[in-house]
């Protein structure tokens, strides 16, 4: 009598005895009762419901995605979440040098997380007076890029001192820590040779970009160079060759063009007739402003 429903006598008299299980009563180890089997497989209907819902959802999601891609005429590509963008440990901190703390220079180091104390005070004040002014909030929400500003080169004392003050500023965005003040160099070549920097931000006047980039490349220092890249094609080629020969990382101040949104917008424009220039009219500009496409591209 293996069927426990017909044989209450074999039901285990000891309620705490683990011998009883879904598969069988205490009477027989090698048997599985029908009822026990049904109980053991209780989740089967749930799996049925799960996969029914899953494939339905998947079909709907896939259709939606394909419709958006087809509408925009773009291909599917990975999102711009690059793991390397996540802050690295302090041991991998990049030491930055700055050449030229003028208008662009001070913006660039601020984007790197080093704002002058006066700027912090002013933007804070501006936010207090006008809650719509989000300059300070935007700054504080920047990621900790795990960089330190360790070298500054500027011919003007006032500007060099301002950059040094920014390098050691207490308030950093993204929970970044305070750094010791940067060292000042009167010649950028001294800064390159000092061994104090891993990468340089070149924000000097345009006619200096070639020489400073080529020298940095030869010193094995990575370069962020403000736009314009150079004044002549010859200069640009020289910079290109230096970067290629030495294998340093080079970024021109046109990084927006590599953003996912811009690339998608470009892809849309290249496949959609509405974005071609109108022949014969001399109109250089397409009827739809490319900028208007950016929010669209973000959907993909």
């Amino acid at each position: 009598m293996n069927d426990e429903t017909n044989n209450p006598g074999t039901a285990n008299p000891n309620p705490s005895d683990a011998a009883s299980s879904a598969g069988g009563s205490g009477a027989g180890w090698d048997t599985v009762t029908r009822r026990g089997l049904l109980k053991a497989l209780v989740s089967i209907p749930f799996f049925g419901a799960f996969f029914l819902a899953y494939f339905k959802k998947k079909a709907v999601d896939d259709m939606k995605k394909q419709a958006i891609l087809a509408e925009l005429g773009v291909s599917e590509s990975a999102p711009a979440v690059i793991p390397e963008m996540v802050s690295r440990p302090p041991s991998e901190r990049i030491r930055l040098g700055l050449i030229g703390n003028g208008w662009e220079g001070r913006s660039l180091i601020r984007y790197a997380g080093f704002a002058h104390p006066d700027w912090i005070e002013e933007s804070r004040q501006a936010a207090r007076e006008n809650p719509g002014n989000r300059q300070f909030e935007t700054f504080m929400n920047q990621d900790d890029l795990n960089v330190a500003l360790t070298g500054v080169c500027d011919v003007f004392d006032k500007r060099a001192e301002a950059a040094i003050a920014a390098s050691a500023v207490e308030l950093r965005p993204g929970g970044a820590s305070q750094n010791p003040p940067a060292k000042r160099f009167l010649r950028y070549t001294d800064m390159y040779e000092s061994g104090e920097i891993d990468a340089v931000i070149i924000a000097a006047p345009d006619h200096w970009h070639r020489q400073m980039t080529v020298d940095a490349a030869n010193a094995g220092i990575h370069v962020y160079c403000e736009k314009c890249m150079s004044r002549t094609e010859e200069d640009a080629n020289a910079m290109y060759n230096a970067v290629k020969e030495t294998g340093i990382v080079f970024q021109l101040g046109h990084q927006n063009r590599q953003s996912e949104a811009h690339m998608k917008a470009q892809e849309i424009m290249s496949t959609d007739n509405r974005f071609r220039s109108v022949p014969g009219t001399g109109a250089k500009r397409s009827p739809i402003q490319p900028r208007a496409l950016l929010p669209l591209a973000l959907l993909v």
């Binding site: 426990e4 039901a11 285990n12 309620p15 009883s20 009563s25 180890w29 009822r35 793991p83 991998e92």
Partner: protein, 176 residues
């Protein structure tokens, strides 16, 4: 349940019919959630835990951000996480290796919680769908997993009741 119910593990532990069923349903629902979380991640070739880990706050943020900042450890974490979720979900739904997968679920949920706890003063860039103060749904699911650990139903209503090694162990206990 009638007479036969007396031979159930769940019943033997003193659960009423309602109590047993509520526990079984809880186990299957938590399992369903894990299973789908795992499946969704495995089916999305672009999925990565980098965003979640990178946004980590509190005491352990250094550890989690460190995991995300190295592409090798990140790849390992992603594989363990998605397959872990899938297998835990499968185990809970089927009632197979119930105790082990419940403990694994507790470990995973605990890690999710301490990586990004909703403590006062912390804000996260990924918007949440509700409002949370210390207690969030991760913590609740963690608590649910502890309930499943304390009140197991895998043998009474799951494949754990069929697998031979459980029977062997039970036999030993019965003979002891």
């Amino acid at each position: 349940m009638q007479q036969s119910g007396k031979s159930d593990i769940a019943f033997a532990q003193g659960f009423s019919g309602l109590q047993t069923w509520v526990l079984v349903i809880l186990r299957i629902l938590v399992g369903w959630h894990f299973f789908y979380e795992g499946l969704a991640k495995l089916m999305n070739e672009y999925w990565t835990s980098a965003g979640y880990l990178g946004a980590s706050q509190w005491w352990f943020s250094g550890f989690f951000v460190g995991l995300a900042s190295n592409s090798t450890t990140l790849a390992i974490v992603d594989v363990i996480n998605s397959w872990g979720l899938l297998l835990i979900g499968l185990g809970l739904m089927l009632g197979l290796f119930t105790r082990s997968v419940t403990i694994a679920a507790i470990v995973l949920l605990f890690l999710y919680y301490i990586a990004a706890p909703p403590f006062p003063g912390y804000s996260y860039s990924i918007p949440m769908e509700g409002s949370y103060l210390i207690v969030n749904k991760v913590l609740l699911e963690l608590c649910a997993a502890f309930v499943l650990l304390a009140f197991p139903t895998g043998k009474a209503y799951g494949l754990d009741g069929l697998v031979p090694w459980n029977k062997t162990r039970a036999l030993k206990q019965a003979n002891a």
